[in-house]
């Protein structure tokens, strides 16, 4: 039973944590889709303002993406630069 070491448990739990953390990707997906939908509506209503609308939409989407990027960074840290192993 020496496979179940403390390190193995930490590594397994970190991998699970990284996977669960990436559920946060749901939020930006919904948010960006909503922004894109509203942008499409706006272009449909005012086609001459397309350049401005696209720029504003991309900017808003980039800000909405922040939470997803945070979770990606946390998942990357858990997988590639795990700080928890050092605590053992």
């Amino acid at each position: 039973m020496d496979l179940v070491t403390a390190k193995a448990i930490v590594l397994g739990a970190s991998a699970l944590g990284a996977g669960i953390g990436m559920i946060a990707g749901l939020g930006p997906g919904i948010g960006q889709g909503y922004a894109a939908g509203k942008g499409t509506e706006a272009v449909g209503r005012q086609p001459e303002a397309q350049a401005d609308i696209t720029r504003t939409m991309l900017l808003g989407q980039a800000v909405a993406e922040t939470t997803g990027i945070y979770s990606l960074v946390i998942a990357l840290i858990l997988i590639f630069a795990n700080p928890l192993i050092g605590l053992l």
Partner: protein
């Protein structure tokens, strides 16, 4: 676990020179030599490459004044430099080099530049008293929230760029590994033929579309934040 971090190329004394730094030198050399070659023989009536340079400079100038107002034209060189560096940096993945923006050190350094400019201009345009007072508005209780919000600006700015580029980099290298193992499954172990054409469409998305879009967004957000600070 050996991951997707930048390789260590060599040491100068005790200083570690990583792949990021070397690729940044390559980009700097490309930009400097490009600028020197393109701006060498300017004439009154532009022709050839001079047209391209003038259009580029005009676009960046107009873009800056459109977003930040006419009085902030002084920021156009900064914005243009960052935009060129980030665009070349993100596109250099197409040459098989590792984009320097996939290292959080690069992106955080760039966002710290923007952070310093934001706060310098904030103090310059609203005086020290107004600057400090801004942290206690609308209610003094919100002081910690205001400080946290200001500190989050460079972090979110740098992690957005870093996360997007690194995510693309990891997906691309996983794809290459998968194609190599598929190739060896059909008996082509020495020459991974499947790596030849299939990744192209992914490169177009992850390197070209995402790279240019992310450098645009970094520059755009920098301009919005700096414009806010100058009280525009």
């Amino acid at each position: 676990m050996e991951g997707f971090g930048p390789r260590i190329m060599f040491y100068i004394g005790d200083i570690v020179i990583s792949e990021t730094v070397v690729v940044t030198w390559v980009i700097m050399a490309m930009l400097i030599i490009g600028a020197w070659l393109l701006t060498r023989n300017f004439e009154k009536i532009p022709k050839g490459a001079q047209n391209v340079v003038e259009v580029l400079v005009d676009t960046i100038n107009n873009f800056t004044t459109e977003t930040m107002g006419e009085k902030n034209r002084v920021f156009a060189p900064y914005i243009g430099t960052i935009f060129l560096f980030l665009t070349v940096g993100n596109l250099i993945g197409l040459l098989g080099l590792r984009p320097p923006t996939s290292d959080v050190n690069t992106t955080f350094a760039l966002s710290m530049l923007t952070f310093v400019i934001i706060h310098y201009n904030s103090i310059k345009y609203s005086s020290l008293g107004g600057y400090v007072k801004g942290y206690f508005e609308p209610f003094p209780v919100l002081f910690p929230m205001n400080v946290l919000g200001d500190l989050a600006t460079p972090i979110s700015l740098s992690f957005r760029l870093f996360g997007n580029v690194t995510g693309g980099l990891i997906v691309m290298s996983l794809l290459y590994q998968a194609l190599a193992s598929f190739s060896s499954m059909i008996g082509l172990k020495t020459i991974p033929v499947l790596q030849a054409v299939i990744p192209v469409v992914f490169h177009v998305y992850f390197d070209m579309f995402s790279g240019i879009l992310q450098s645009f967004i970094f520059v755009m957000l920098s301009m919005v934040f700096i414009g806010d600070a100058t009280g525009d």
